[in-house]
């Protein structure tokens, strides 16, 4: 990835905004952005859909859409906030075009080929609990929590994605955590 470094070997790596600008003409630049963000985008989708197949589909859709519209990224905010805006839309379209009553229940019981061992199966159960718990929250609260804890966004980045103030996002996270504590089985998980 030397071509993506600033001049001189001691220069720091390019930041996301520089890479995004370069991505318009350079596939390596976009690949670098992809490598930096793919895991957090995947985690965000996993938290919402709870199964590997749909999370991979949504992650693919997110980055393909980002590549197609990279020219529209103007660098006024962070690249992470921009790509999570796309991810949030893909997630919204997914739930809009699917049949929620069936999907929610089935999604939580799809076995994942990647999670075959006992240890991973245990992790899958933990994720199942969280996915199920998030479904019980208002969509805004669930979004704020997944963007911050699974997407790794800052409050201000999440506020850009959600088009709300930073204070509103903090409030949504706080109330979301409170809901998880009071109304969901996560409380039991924590106590255990």
């Amino acid at each position: 990835m030397n071509s993506l470094m600033k001049t001189g070997s001691t220069s720091p790596p390019m930041d996301d905004i520089q890479l995004a600008q370069l991505s318009r003409t350079d596939s390596d630049a976009f690949a670098e952005l992809y490598q930096r963000h793919v895991t957090r985008v995947y985690r965000y989708h996993m938290a919402h859909v709870g199964n590997v197949k749909d999370a991979e589909d949504l992650t693919s859709q997110t980055f393909i859409a980002a590549l197609e519209s990279i020219k529209s990224f103007r660098g006024t905010g962070s690249f992470a906030a921009w790509i999570f805006g796309i991810a949030a839309n893909k997630k919204a379209m997914f739930f809009r075009s699917s049949k929620p009553q069936v999907e929610l229940d089935e999604a939580l019981h799809i076995s994942s080929p990647k999670l075959a061992s006992d240890r991973l199966a245990n992790q899958h159960l933990q994720l199942d609990s969280i996915t199920r718990a998030l479904k019980q929250l208002s969509s805004d609260r669930a979004d704020a929590i997944t963007l911050i804890f699974f997407g790794g966004l800052s409050n201000i980045e999440a506020s850009r994605v959600m088009k709300k103030s930073e204070a509103s996002v903090k409030m949504l996270v706080s109330r979301g955590l409170q809901d998880l504590r009071e109304r969901t089985s996560l409380r039991l998980e924590v106590e255990e």
Partner: protein, 321 residues
């Protein structure tokens, strides 16, 4: 108590963070997707001036000039205006409506590249009209009525329906106001006052067979790549999947819009107007659905607590030849 709550919140935060850290996409998936992205990446065409300097032969220059001419034409086509918001088209000439019983329907293109104003003929009959000045007409029936979310008195003379949470294709959208589909060809019309602000909020006209097969035409907010944000959308769901063509049309802060939706055989054509007289073609969906009901909808918000009202001034069904 607060200290206790904070420590419990911290424990849940820790659980969320730990779980997130354990989620990793498989190497096979990330490598395959990266390969796909690299293959589909199409760098912008550019002209390298150093290459031009190397052209010395007349044939080379002739070839270069042809390339430049093609590039010029392409650039000219790219900067030509494509989609002008309805609010910016004051000077379009619209011919008067004619009472001809055999209307001329303008053939729609899949995606109009420029506003196309057409003459819509006066209908031959007036089977139904509700101005929402009194109780709802007896022909109406609510599907999943939520009494607290609609009103005829909040804005007298208008029917107000809150754009609440619920998906029409999920079978959990409230307050679909429907009546039996008319026989033969017909045209629906309404005047809608609505400012969608939340993702997927939608209000407008509906031609409905069931949750998996329907057509909706109205004002919505959508930020997906195939959307234009605050816009007019004409959508067709077929066997549970949305048709990729949604005829997105930038609403540009439009609050009141007139909507017309025509059925002529398997052709379903949508028009909008800002004054109820000059109509602009949005597009045509061609589908073999078997509609059972027509009516009005407002909802599909992703905000569970959303209370955004959509207001309808009237609803008309005209028959068409």
């Amino acid at each position: 108590m607060n200290t206790f709550n904070h420590s419990e919140n911290d424990a849940i935060k820790k659980l969320l963070e730990e779980t997130a850290q354990k989620i990793e996409p498989s190497f096979a998936f990330t490598a395959q997707l990266e390969k796909h992205l690299k293959q589909t990446h199409k760098p912008k065409a550019g002209i390298n001036m150093s290459n031009i300097k190397k052209i010395t032969s007349p044939i080379g220059w002739a070839f270069a000039l042809v390339v430049l001419a093609i590039a010029f034409n392409w650039i000219a086509s790219q900067i030509a205006p494509k989609n002008i918001p309805a609010t910016n088209i004051p000077e379009v000439v619209v011919t008067e409506s004619t009472p001809s019983p055999s209307p001329t329907i303008v053939e729609s293109s899949p995606t109009p590249t420029a506003p196309t104003f057409v003459t819509l003929p006066t209908s031959t009959a007036l089977p139904f009209r509700d101005d929402f000045d009194g109780p709802l007409d007896k022909d109406w029936e609510w599907l999943r009525e939520k009494d607290s979310d609609w009103s005829l008195t909040n804005n007298p003379g208008w029917l107000e329906i809150i754009a609440g949470f619920g998906l029409i294709n999920g079978g959990n959208m409230n307050n679909l106001l429907l009546q039996p589909v008319p026989e033969g060809n017909f045209e629906l019309e309404t005047k809608l006052k609505f400012k969608p602000t939340e993702e997927m909020e939608f209000a407008g006209l509906l031609i409905y067979e069931n949750a998996a097969n329907h057509i909706q035409f109205g004002h919505a907010f959508c930020h997906a790549p195939s959307c234009t944000g605050d816009g007019i959308y004409f959508e067709n769901m077929v066997r549970g999947s949305w048709n990729v063509e949604n005829f997105e049309f930038e609403a540009d802060n439009l609050e009141i819009v007139y909507l017309r939706l025509r059925r002529e055989g398997n052709n379903f054509t949508a028009y909008i107007s800002q004054n109820g007289e000059d109509w602009q073609l949005i597009g045509t969906h061609i589908t073999e659905m078997n509609p059972l009901s027509v009516g009005l909808i407002s909802g599909q918000s992703f905000d569970r607590d959303g209370q955004n009202p959509a207001q309808f001034d009237y609803f008309i069904i005209n028959s068409l030849p």
